[in-house]
């Protein structure tokens, strides 16, 4: 019942165009994460969805209704802010009652709605506290509580977890995902943290410089980034990206040179490329294997031992930084010279425009 669709939305602040024509369909009941670097226009987009800001041009429909000119309150949306924006002088209960009062809901009805929301979020015993006496995670939950009491048809989240510490962030991610399953309401979630995008989203919208770079399911973006930007942005540790020049290219292969005389092969459709052309080569750290012989020769600089896996940071002879993920612990030490090898079907190639080259067409047997 509450799909959201944006048509050619632009937003200008004075001379700068912050959103440059956004077309987007958000399915009813989906969990969509809008991700992108700081300043790319995520918040602006979300605020336009909320009605806190209006687009310079373009139109916006929620549940089939044109809401472009409507007040936030008329859109049946709720929003959770990065810093929670709980009303500091009101108790948790009053915070949650605030939107209900606007709806002129009766006292008993209000109490019931609050209890229901408190139940879902397990904050029943906090109802009489002021926000100042809550921990970060509790505040987060209350902010969500304030959003859900109104039973909106779309939830908007603007980096709701970025003020929490790592452990809590991990925990709240899971809780939010569970909440979405429970409520089934459309959720639009803005973050600059690709880990959040990857772990929570059903669909990710990657925004860059006011434009949509790619839309897709998390693993699709991870495996098949459409552009160099998406490739570098999605995945932690980030994809290794190297400058290279084309040596050979055909419909199923590209061989490129990185650094002096070091070749690397990628299984992509290289038909658009000419030898000598400048391209970028991308390899995910977990697609790089540490090998004693062969591969790209590197010298290890830093090892990050996380327990279940170790991230190996290294530099090529040319000085370029590369990282690889090794499962579990490792005997390797900084200063070691090893090779890093990537299978050709895991190597990505990006044209100088930034566009990814597609995998070769299935051989028509």
């Amino acid at each position: 019942m509450a799909e959201v669709s944006l048509h050619a939305i632009t937003r200008r602040f004075g001379p700068t165009e912050v959103l440059r024509g956004i077309d987007l369909e958000i399915a009813d009941g989906s969990f969509t994460v809008i991700v992108g670097p700081s300043g790319c226009g995520k918040s602006t987009l979300l605020r336009i969805l909320a009605g806190l800001d209006a687009p310079t041009s373009g139109s916006l429909h929620i549940a089939g209704r044109d809401v472009t000119g409507l007040e936030p309150a008329e859109r049946r949306i709720a929003m959770v802010f990065q810093n929670y924006s709980l009303y500091p002088h009101m108790s948790v209960r009053e915070n949650m009652a605030f939107p209900l009062r606007s709806l002129r809901m009766g006292r008993a009805e209000r109490a019931a709605a609050i209890d229901r929301a408190a139940d879902i979020l397990r904050i029943g015993d906090l109802l009489d506290r002021k926000p100042a006496h809550l921990s970060g995670g509790q505040r987060q939950r209350v902010a969500i509580g304030r959003a859900i009491v109104r039973e909106p048809s779309v939830f908007l989240f603007d980096e709701p977890l970025s003020n929490l510490d790592a452990a809590l962030r991990g925990q709240m991610r899971v809780e939010l995902a569970e909440l979405h399953r429970q409520l089934g309401t459309t959720m639009v979630y803005v973050t600059h943290d690709q880990v959040e995008a990857m772990t929570m989203a059903e669909r990710i919208v990657v925004l860059n410089g006011g434009r949509v770079e790619q839309v897709g399911a998390p693993m699709d973006l991870y495996r098949s980034p459409a552009t160099r930007f998406v490739a570098g942005f999605i995945g932690q540790p980030p994809m290794n990206l190297l400058q290279a020049t084309v040596v050979r290219a055909d419909v199923a292969h590209v061989v490129a040179m990185i650094g002096a005389n070091q070749h690397i092969e990628a299984a992509v459709d290289g038909r658009g490329l000419a030898p000598g052309e400048a391209i970028s080569i991308g390899v995910r750290p977990d697609d790089l294997a540490v090998v004693a012989q062969g591969g790209i020769p590197v010298r290890l600089s830093v090892l990050e031992r996380l327990g279940p896996q170790t991230v190996v940071h290294a530099r090529t002879e040319g000085g370029a930084a590369l990282s690889a993920v090794v499962a579990g612990d490792t005997e390797l030490a900084p200063g070691d010279r090893v090779g890093l090898f990537a299978p050709a079907d895991r190597v990505h190639v990006f044209a100088s425009s930034g566009q990814a080259l597609p995998r070769p067409p299935r051989p028509a047997l």
Binding site: S43, A54, P55, T56
Partner: protein, 319 residues
């Protein structure tokens, strides 16, 4: 909408142009403009009415009067620029203007030094600080006339407490209130004494917005107390200092109650400042036209100083 923006939006606060055309979203014009302007206008209505009726009307009226020789109980006679011309040529008004500048030169630095010192000394969590703040604020709230009488007693030449104390360190009696060299300084002392507590409160408030971590960093960096004061505290307090400076400047040109009760402008005009002279002309001699002209000269001087300060502000105030 322009000022309602994300806290993370870059750009110095308050610099965003107010004109709506720049970033206001394209909305159906007439209707939604009034939706935003209407409430704003209602909110400002009391202030605008007050400004018009109780500020601008009397001010404009007084300005018109400055071109007359109105003596309140007399009929009004238009004299053109005669009042202004007289102010510029009269040796008395030159003397008074000189006194005003001299008073400002004593009062403003004096009150700033004292209030900064007090603020710095009291910007801590010592339990006794609240008491001292109160004690230092007390002069600001005690009735000027009554407390100035106490000061007359302190300044008394022969039987005064101050000269008595000075005698202990072999300093000769000073006729504080009757010596032209000392009368204005005495007024300045009492004025500083009276106002320092108020500015102190403003400055403590300013100090409390300074991140204590910066002081710790400075200690780690080997800066001793004095260097921390002039290299960290002063620059980081500069916004407050500027605010206090402007307040103090304006006040220095407007104090007359203390002069009135302490020296009556004497001896022989030695402590007559412009504000007191305006008071004399307005309410003792009832030369309202002349007093109004003097007031506008005063406004001009304050305005000039204030503008100068705003101009110099960039040099020493750190945003």
């Amino acid at each position: 909408m322009s000022e309602i923006r994300s806290t993370r939006a870059p750009g110095p606060r308050g610099r965003v142009p107010i004109s709506d055309n720049d970033h206001a979203p394209a909305r159906p014009r007439s209707q939604s403009r009034w939706k935003t302007w209407g409430p704003a206008l209602l909110f400002l209505l009391p202030a605008i009415v007050g400004l018009l009726v109780f500020r601008l009307i009397p001010i404009g009226w007084a300005f018109a009067l400055s071109f007359t020789n109105w003596r309140i109980f007399n009929d009004i006679e238009w004299v053109g620029l005669a009042n202004y011309a007289h102010i510029l040529t009269s040796p008395v008004s030159r003397e008074v203007l000189g006194n005003t500048l001299w008073f400002t030169a004593m009062y403003v630095p004096g009150v700033m030094v004292v209030s900064v010192t007090l603020a710095v000394l009291l910007n801590n969590s010592l339990r006794s600080s609240a008491f001292f703040r109160g004690a230092f604020f007390l002069p600001y709230i005690t009735a000027t006339v009554a407390v100035t009488l106490a000061w007359r007693w302190i300044f008394s030449t022969r039987f005064g407490l101050l000269n008595h104390l000075l005698a202990q360190v072999d300093i000769d009696r000073i006729a504080w209130l009757a010596d032209p060299a000392w009368a204005l300084p005495a007024v300045a002392i009492v004025s500083v004494w009276k106002d320092a507590g108020f500015y102190m409160i403003l400055l403590i408030a300013g100090l409390q917005t300074i991140d204590p971590g910066v002081y710790e960093a400075a200690r780690i960096d080997g800066a001793r107390a004095f260097r921390r004061f002039y290299a960290i505290t002063l620059p980081l307090l500069s916004r407050s200092l500027f605010f206090v400076l402007i307040l103090a400047l304006v006040r220095s040109t407007q104090t007359f109650e203390i002069t009135y009760a302490l020296t009556n402008g004497g001896p022989n005009r030695a402590s007559t400042t412009l504000a007191f002279y305006i008071y004399q002309n307005a309410f003792v001699h009832f030369e309202m036209g002349y007093a109004s002209a003097l007031a506008y000269v005063l406004c001009f001087v304050i305005g000039l100083i204030t503008l100068l300060n705003f101009h110099l502000r960039r040099r020493w105030v750190h945003e």
